[in-house]
Subunit: 375 residues, 2 copies
């Protein structure tokens, strides 16, 4: 079985696989909720019943073709920091991390597929892909779901569909979502309008870590709300259409900012870059916000294109549990701020911003020491 | 006669001549106020009387040995921007810049000696030196004063000494001052205490541009208040003693900060450096404050030593009139902010901060792409 350190040593494939052309949409994610027949939902089950459900499901999950050599672990076997790392990497939920006895996580090597056992439902399966590829993510997960259904008795009602702990998941049991980076819509004060329009379409908008979390780093998660009355492909198709439109709005807002307020934009990008490159103390919130601006700058060609990927990776790596895991020890918030700034300096040291050109030809006295071709 | 552009092309000698060892005290300045007998003080004189005084004094001043080939100009012959440049360079006072008819300025080539004709008094002479060298500055000015006295009938009273427009200058007519950079006393919250102690000794503390100006960039001007009852050498000796003590307090505060809060200090220095190096818009106040912190960093060896001199020069060059003069046109505040940021980026582009070393030996996943000697 894969060790935790082996799993986590590399970034998830969806963290780094995106193309820069489609850099507005970071990731596409599908989640399916399933429950076993005849065993109470995890919230109502006794410890023995939860263990019974786990013992029934785990061997079947581990036999799945994509789960060969996967990381599989009872949550009681993980430290608090390890569980928090999985949360930061979106591989398990915050709620799941709080569980112990009878709960487990199975995570495929490339981290594109992960399954939580005894979260709110008996099974929560997730598939993530870089960019806007909800259908690809769905197809991969659907295959897993089909394979599991052949061997596990899922609670299913002809009329209602899949039964779930929370009625909002009833039916398909599916939540489809994408993570979008919308800095230009925020900078040009259009974000409120866009989010309202999304809400009116019956979709949900959340922050970086899902329900109830703040939007940090101009990152927004857009997902379907309804799981009843429509088929999975219909839901996905509608969501992809809306997300494409939002991404186009963001792309337009970027070009318009660049055209209308280039200096303001360069100033913002330069300042965030300068602070990330040279600060010695930085909290998560500040780091996410500066990374967001530098990521925008990289998308606009102000920094080398590969900086987009670097920002996406750093976004993950500078979070509290990741910092402590790599450091091999518990760190106080101040120590984390110091370490976070170190990592930023280290990884940005070879990134450069474009050469500064003073556009007019007036002679400047400080240039006296430099030979100049001007008269 | 020297042209304005020739005068201003180079930084003043006192702006760049200081040694880094004594970087707390930027400059030492002596000013003497003198008036002619029988002609009313400028504030009470008619335009004709002011011209009469000027016509009497100017030829004598221009004959002084150090004033051969000096810049000499009636203020009515200077543009608003040119006058403001002289104010920013501390060569004439703000009050003098507001005068026109019958007022003039004579400024020696190296800008260490300047004489205002018909400011508040008929003559205001000034000598500036880099570092803490009040006595040297005084001796140079005293020589000029002696030479002028041989040819001009100064208003002098046996009991009161030199007569001046403002009674606070009566007696010696001398104001001795030094400009100090006290960032560590500010950062460690000791500045209030130190300024109070200075005030109790009967000395005055002011901001960058003298009376009634704010302290920007942690720069403080300390000067004598009393001009009666003591000889010039006594006043200077006392002032130099106090200034030496303040400079020592600052030096100690720097070392203590470096010892007690190295990360906070590095963070401050790094952030100011990063912002100066990468911003595209910056107002004067922000620029002065960041330059102050970078200057501290250079004194402490965080940046190359020559950065101290660069900061001192930039301090002057990024001010509104200097910017407009070099640009050859009037600039709006927004244009100045843009130009100021350009100049900062240009001159800091080759300055580097020390290499970042992550102190522990844990392997970091982002380093995977770099070959590493570690296992």
């Amino acid at each position: 079985m894969m060790r935790f350190s082996t799993l986590i040593r590399h970034p998830a494939e969806w963290m780094i696989g995106g193309t820069v052309d489609n850099a507005v949409v970071l990731t596409s994610r599908i989640r399916l909720a399933r429950n076993l027949r005849k065993i109470p939902f995890p919230g109502w089950a006794t410890a023995a019943q939860r263990r019974e459900a786990m013992d029934l499901m785990l061997p079947v999950i581990q036999e799945l073709r994509p789960m060969k050599d996967a990381f599989a672990q009872s949550l009681s076997g993980l430290t608090a920091v390890q569980k928090q790392v999985l949360v930061e990497r979106h591989l398990i939920s915050r709620e799941h991390a709080a569980r112990t006895e009878g709960s487990a996580a199975v995570i495929e090597r490339r981290q594109t597929l992960s399954i939580m056992v005894n979260e709110e439902d008996h099974l929560r399966m997730q598939s993530i892909r870089p960019g806007l590829h909800l259908r690809v993510a769905y197809d991969a997960l659907n295959e897993v779901d089909d394979a599991l259904q052949e061997q596990l008795p899922f609670a299913f009602d002809r009329k209602l569909g899949f039964l779930t702990t929370c009625p909002t998941n009833l039916g398909t049991g599916m939540r489809a979502s994408a993570m979008l980076h919308l800095p230009a819509l925020v900078l040009s004060n259009q974000i409120g309008q866009v989010l309202n329009a999304i809400a009116r379409l019956g979709l949900a908008v959340r922050g970086l870590y899902g329900e109830g979390t703040e939007s940090l780093g101009n990152l927004y998660q857009i997902s379907n709300q309804s799981t009843l009355g429509e088929s999975e492909p219909q839901i996905i198709e509608q969501l992809e259409r809306v997300i494409s439109q939002v991404a186009m709005h963001e792309a337009n807002a970027r070009l318009k900012l660049l055209e209308d307020e280039p200096i303001m934009l360069h100033d913002k990008m330069g300042r965030s870059f300068g602070v990330l490159k040279h600060a010695w103390l930085m909290d998560s919130k500040e780091a996410l916000n500066h990374l967001s601006v530098v990521r925008l700058g990289a998308c606009l060609g102000f920094f080398p294109k590969e900086t987009v990927r670097l920002c996406d990776t750093l976004l993950m790596e500078i979070q509290p549990a990741h910092l402590q895991l790599h450091c091999g020890q518990k760190l106080s918030p101040e120590q984390r701020d110091e370490r976070r700034a170190q990592i930023m300096r280290l990884h940005l040291q070879n990134v450069t911003s474009p050469v500064t050109v003073i556009s007019d030809h007036n002679h400047h006295p400080l240039s006296d020491s430099n030979p100049s071709p001007e008269p």
